[in-house]
């Protein structure tokens, strides 16, 4: 009856993680001797995440994979946990900690891919406005940096990025305000998964769909729909399903003594993909299948 317990802790509640959860579910099917848990913290703060990890370890969890809100500075907390159970990072890494390995994508690379979409559809250059949840979060900073790096010297400028603290109403009114106040903007980038849908809705309300180039991240249904009908230039998707699925299998293997899957640099990169009009239908079909809808 003594099943081993594995936990996957995410940084905040969002649809994005539903895909990872689906991956974890699939892994559960293949790991009957394990009890897999998928944990959302009550709020997305490092303090709560660390308390959650402490509690899980106290409750007898055997291995943890975490998407940290703030990996850089949670190193000590990670090391404290890693001293008790094997710890893995996903989504965002803490390379200086004693975590066993990182499994996930590279946000910088994703940002570069997004920048490349913009370069492709804006050959004459342009002025872009970005929208994001937390400006200071690592994933946001890396994506922004990647985007800037890719458009450097191509006549495209990322004028500013507006934060909304993951308040959807603010996310929407931020776009509305830019449409009202910055007529020179001809390109918009939605860095968090819910930003592109808000851009879509604001443009639709203003009757400007198609007039402004939109580059998106992630696979919100509205985003995919907009890519399909040509309103968006494209979107960059990660593969969270694989993180959940592979992550759990990896931890189970590790607990059973199989360390062969851990590469020397301790980085297991699941590549990001560009979805545009060409491959969106196929991607959407796959997605539906995984989510079982």
């Amino acid at each position: 009856e003594e099943k081993k317990q594995l936990a996957f802790i995410v940084n905040a509640a969002s649809d994005f993680w539903k895909l990872a959860e689906a991956g974890v579910k699939k892994a559960q099917g293949e790991l009957p001797n394990y009890d897999l848990q998928f944990k959302y913290p009550a709020q997305g703060t490092a303090a709560l995440q660390n308390a959650l990890m402490d509690d899980l370890v106290a409750a007898g969890t055997d291995a943890i994979m975490i998407s940290s809100v703030d990996p850089k500075t949670s190193v000590d907390a990670f090391n404290r946990i890693a001293a008790q159970v094997p710890l893995f990072t996903t989504d965002s890494d803490a390379p200086d900690s004693n975590r066993i390995a990182y499994l996930g994508s590279s946000n910088t690379a994703a940002g570069v891919q997004a920048g490349e979409i913009a370069v492709k559809v804006l050959p004459n250059g342009g002025k872009c406005m970005g929208f994001v949840g937390f400006l200071g979060a690592d994933n946001a900073k890396e994506r922004i940096a990647g985007f800037k790096q890719a458009v450097e010297g191509k006549g495209i400028e990322l004028v500013d990025v507006r934060g909304d603290d993951v308040d959807f109403a603010r996310a929407r009114s931020n776009v509305d305000d830019v449409l009202a106040a910055n007529p020179e903007i001809n390109c918009m980038v939605g860095f968090y998964s819910y930003n592109p849908p808000k851009i879509y809705e604001a443009l639709q309300a203003a009757g400007k769909l198609g007039q402004i180039t939109v580059v998106a991240f992630d696979e919100d249904p509205i985003t995919l729909g907009a890519v399909k009908d040509g309103s968006f230039a494209g979107t960059v998707v990660q593969q969270p399903f694989e993180w959940g699925y592979q992550g759990m299998k990896l931890m189970a293997a590790y607990l059973e003594g199989d360390k062969s899957q851990i590469p020397d640099n301790k980085l297991i990169i699941v590549p990001t993909k560009v979805i545009d009009k060409g491959n969106v239908e196929e991607f959407e079909a796959n997605l539906k299948a995984t989510l079982g809808k």
Partner: protein, 322 residues
């Protein structure tokens, strides 16, 4: 009362003028429309909050109610094929029931409003998150409810319907609060519940009614919000909105001790808060400074208002004594 409102009105004018001078786009119809829309959305539940605050109570669960009702509303229509008028009606009834429950807990079981509605804040959000298993509830691409969308997000000669709805509600509630017997009873209960009871006022019923009204207006606003954001992440939708509502009321001259405040005040309070939000984006202020700017303007405004009022009072008594 009216003097306080004028002070707030002047503050809004001053802030608006300064912003318009720096960036004339502030006065563009499109920007005014957007701001009016948000004023409508926030004003609706702020008016509800005002009723509760007048009784000396507080309603902390506003944000969570907006999240829960939003999730249910969208889910009923999208996943259960419920027609929108039915879903809408259901949400309004639910909102009123929540208010009723809060009111009964407070008056019959003698719990503190802060505790009851704090539990509401926690429970409703928890239920909303559990209901969707922390997923976002939203319309699929292409889902369309033309009448509902026109009603909630449409515009009439450029004036957003949400703003019109808020104005109608405000006018109605103005009559209720400032002209009706019930309104007088509300003030009486807020000022001195015991004296009100001795005067034969059914204080419990009055208090319960205030929470029911708050629940109803919050539910209306929840529908507007759901249609505005079109997708609801139950963990973050409406977070902190109770603070907005309370802040709008307090700015508008309400006292948390109850018995004070006017509808005009709370509407002006809601307008000021939205103008401040708008200003940050329009002036290109780093969004990290958003909060700081809001806080400073509120502080300076309130300060100017009270200092001016005291100055005037001193001048009057000074003259009287001379």
């Amino acid at each position: 009362m009216i003097k306080k409102d004028i002070g707030l009105f002047i503050l809004i004018l001053v802030v608006g003028t300064v912003v318009a001078i720096i960036n004339p786009l502030f006065l563009s119809p499109i920007n005014l429309g957007n701001t009016a829309n948000l004023v409508g959305l926030f004003g609706l539940f702020a008016i509800g909050q005002a009723f509760v605050i007048i009784t000396g109570g507080i309603e902390l669960s506003v944000g969570s109610i907006i999240a829960l009702l939003g999730v249910l509303f969208v889910d009923l229509m999208v996943n259960h094929g419920v027609s929108w008028p039915v879903a809408l009606l259901l949400m309004l009834v639910l909102g009123m029931l929540m208010g009723l429950m809060h009111g009964l807990f407070i008056t019959r079981l003698h719990l503190q409003p802060f505790i009851v509605t704090l539990c509401g804040l926690l429970i409703y959000r928890g239920v909303a998150r559990f209901y969707t298993a922390d997923a976002t509830a939203g319309f699929a691409f292409g889902d369309s409810f033309p009448t509902l969308e026109w009603l909630t997000t449409g515009r009439f000669f450029g004036v957003p319907h949400s703003f019109i709805a808020m104005s109608v509600v405000a006018a109605l509630m103005w009559v209720v609060l400032h002209r009706s017997v019930f309104g007088r009873h509300l003030y009486a209960v807020g000022k001195n519940e015991e004296a009100a009871r001795y005067s034969g006022i059914d204080t419990k019923r009055v208090i319960v009614a205030a929470y029911v009204i708050c629940g109803l207006l919050t539910a209306i606003s929840a529908i507007f919000f759901a249609m505005y954001t079109r997708s609801i992440s139950p963990s973050s939708h409406g977070n902190f909105y109770e603070l907005y509502a309370i802040a709008a009321a307090v700015l508008g001259g309400f006292s948390l001790r109850g018995g004070e405040g006017s509808i005009v005040g709370v509407v002006l309070g809601a307008i000021l808060l939205q103008v401040l939000q708008n200003l940050v984006n329009l002036l290109g202020i780093p969004s990290s400074l958003n909060f700081a700017v809001m806080g400073s303007v509120i502080l300076i405004g309130v300060l100017a208002d009270t200092q001016f009022a005291e100055f005037r009072k001193r001048r009057i008594t000074g003259r009287g004594a001379g």
